[in-house]
Symmetry: C2
Subunit: 583 residues, 2 copies
Amino acid sequence: MHYQAPLDDMQFLLTDVFQAEQQWQNMPAVAEMIDMDTALAVLEEGAKITGELIAPLNRPGDEQGVRLIDGQVVTPDGYKAAFATFAEAGWVGFGGDPEFGGMGMPKMLGVLFDEMCYSASNAFALYSSLTAGAALCIASHGTEEQKALYLPKLYSGEWCGAMDMTEPQAGSDLRHVRTKAEPQEDGSYLVTGTKIFITGGDHDLSDNVVHLVLARLPDAPAGSRGLSLFIVPKRQSDEQGNLTGANGVSCGSVEHKMGITASATCVMHFDKAKGYLLGKLNRGLMAMFTMMNYERLSIGIQGLGCAQMGYQMAAAYAKERKQGQKSGGLSQGIDPILVHGDVRRMLMTSASITEAGRALAVLTGLQLDRQKYQTEGAEDADALVGLLVPLCKAFFTDLGLECSVLNQQVFGGHGYIRETGVEQLVRDVRIAQIYEGTNGIQALDLLGRKVLPKQGEALRMLMADVEVTLGEAKARHPQWAEQVNQAFAELVDAADLLRNSDQGADAVNCAANDYLHALGYATYGYLWLKMLNALDERDDEFAQRKHHLGAFYFARVFPRFATHIAAARSEAALITAMDESLF
Amino acid sequence: MHYQAPLDDMQFLLTDVFQAEQQWQNMPAVAEMIDMDTALAVLEEGAKITGELIAPLNRPGDEQGVRLIDGQVVTPDGYKAAFATFAEAGWVGFGGDPEFGGMGMPKMLGVLFDEMCYSASNAFALYSSLTAGAALCIASHGTEEQKALYLPKLYSGEWCGAMDMTEPQAGSDLRHVRTKAEPQEDGSYLVTGTKIFITGGDHDLSDNVVHLVLARLPDAPAGSRGLSLFIVPKRQSDEQGNLTGANGVSCGSVEHKMGITASATCVMHFDKAKGYLLGKLNRGLMAMFTMMNYERLSIGIQGLGCAQMGYQMAAAYAKERKQGQKSGGLSQGIDPILVHGDVRRMLMTSASITEAGRALAVLTGLQLDRQKYQTEGAEDADALVGLLVPLCKAFFTDLGLECSVLNQQVFGGHGYIRETGVEQLVRDVRIAQIYEGTNGIQALDLLGRKVLPKQGEALRMLMADVEVTLGEAKARHPQWAEQVNQAFAELVDAADLLRNSDQGADAVNCAANDYLHALGYATYGYLWLKMLNALDERDDEFAQRKHHLGAFYFARVFPRFATHIAAARSEAALITAMDESLF
């Protein structure tokens, strides 16, 4: 089956839950580009291109994978033509700066379109996502000349982007990056080194690949404060973007992976490749973070997209596949497996998690828009973005795997067979817990850098709307409102405990993953109430479904909060005291 | 790295935790075959053959997979020779009847050897496991002539076994099996029909494949009470086992799967194939259950084996891979990632779950031995086996996936690359949640057929030793003992609630999965205390490790119990009331 974007839920979130149009009124640059009617029309177009053009490429692309032929990465059949259509229609430049040819769409819409892309095809979506991320980095840190040269090419998909950070000895720990950049008299640099795990590092979808490469000058300080960021195109060009020749950039090999086989994961060699400083010397990591934050949210949404696609497939299968019978039925009866409580449990777990996740994605998109477009409140938004991005990245993808496994389980034995397609989602989504900073790194970032500092300011900022929401929910759902209220109080309390722990950084390191999950389940509780509030008196099928899923969430998923907060509060010494030799 | 069986832990369980030798004194047939010295020597040999012969075939076997060439399944390079060595050494007949050439080893050892086999290679282990299971079924239900013909051939691995139940319209629901068996004048039957998902349905490891086929006579009653079981060999033979020709059994295709690619999953066609009734007419399902219970425990152990193998790989990687630094270290320092709390959390989660699981496997093996070899107490053992087998199957495999994912996560990006090998464990273990009865089916069986009937007799039987264990643990670990005590009380209480629910079978169906998980975590708590009790005053490295992992289990894993029991107690109507059209 092909993908059908959940447009009704997306519209509900934009209009009823987050009052997007009202928000956009406070963002002149956005209001100028878009109103709700346009937004919904754009999403409908997005649904069409992802469902009709991209999704059909996903299974065959997985079987074929990328191939390295004569030093050039070849993508699966159909990718090149589809990417051209996709890019020409402006989708790569969806959130791009209109001054340079971008569509200027707010991130609140962007997260929804990202979800569609990942539902349709993880591998395909990555080429576009990396390109948009590279463009964002250049738009934020580039000179006017750099913007004028690269942005139109990237937004139009004529050129693609890649992010080159990891080296064999420098993965999560970028202090040890060795790639060097030697300054030249003309102001450019010659970049030499090897990067690994480079998504979209080479391919045939575009004429050029613009690498953003972390490297260090020969005299740079050791560690991360000696890293600078360089634009290193695969092919050189003149200032108008006409290609003028090769540039010492080559793909050494492509990895054979568990999933996203149609996404090229490359070993990239830079051999005195001409590069251009992006941003300031020795501040490369900071510039790279612009792109990384963008990619991190995007990768979180990969988790959502997979869960949503798998749910659609599993729900359809459960209605069609007949095995067993409804409790109390006739002895020879046979019913669709959807009658079985345990099958419903799996589907409702998947749906109740994914729909709360979509709400969190839109909330995070809104904060990114406020950060970018609003003058007032931009600082608050900044703190919220800092808090929510690692939460989205890790929580969406951890639960994205869980939901994908549940969706696969609904298929029984057929779910394990490649041709059914649902097992691909499990293989594909698995990488999202690992790349763009492992989920362990996200949790450390969330707890250590976002929750604990400033006496918990960022968490309090999130709690401002939580309190408003709980106040509104109290009349109809007093018990759930109290549970969520209590959960946030426990999160604050656990943060205080950890902040004052005599185990210091170890306490954070040991608690981070469980703290992140506890915050995630509490936040989903808050967002479920926010969605139920927005339904108000509605009693159509859409509203009925939400009420069922919300009730399910509180009864069957939310209780996980207690487990995670207990684990997060437990002594770090339980983990740190075990001698290395005993592992 | 190659597999190294955890022999010290296995010995600890046999000698200190479960006093195997003492148990064997009550089982004359076992005591005759084996004492502890022999048992340990056997396990050492098992460790050798799995580590040195089987494990090295696992990665290349996955890459090559099985192929169907001219209607014959060809296994990966090296499989045939390795299987011959393995079978000639008697390992296929490990638990087989000595009268017909089996080794007659008790299941308490068998579960440990099974774990080694699955750690070394899931795909390879399945060929042997299915053969042993088929032999067990023939040993239990066959005539003397059938035993004399088939058992020596199966124990020696000259012939292999397969279990043919599923048809396209009959998976979890076997009532709809259509394959027919027409009685012939000579007392044999002609079997015609198509079976799917037949593990080891065809291959080149042996001269013959002995299929145990569920089929129905033309005049048999509809539904499951009209099913009979037939021995249908791929090739016919005389009574001495000399092959005499083909038998209308052919492999139509092999499935392309997410994992266990070196295990042949076949579509099997039976075209008037000569078959022989095994057991009684129309009682085929019951006879098949002998094999299924055996296979279900075996498949549970697949989950354990994968988790153990992955842990070994991940622990070794964490000691070797350097990224980041210990909290409070020098700014340019670099340490093995094992210093990081979150990496340790993943490893300790994996180890604390897997080691409790191994204890449960041995406990279950012990009950199978008591059931088979003891005259006194066999009935109790029967009830315990009924309770523990579905728990092992589902809980080991659900947590086997979780642990495999955690082990993979320790590797960061390298864990997603096929050549590292750890991603294969995730793909391979995933099937174990599905086949041999999905974990949803196991949960229904556990709660509906084992826990609830007879006013909870089976659970009370398990609780007898729980109480003894808690009594012994009280002095040293009063808090944990009380937590486990409370958990079992809640399990009894939840069972009472469900037994009396006005939602009937729906209540069971909706609660089953969470009830199974709650029982699993409570049981692991009990077994951790049992292991800690057995350590007594020991303070060597082995004991230190156990104490660390036990404490970790209670602080960080056991709290999940509360989540699952809450979910199991929640209203079934939360799940059943949602209209089908809303999914």
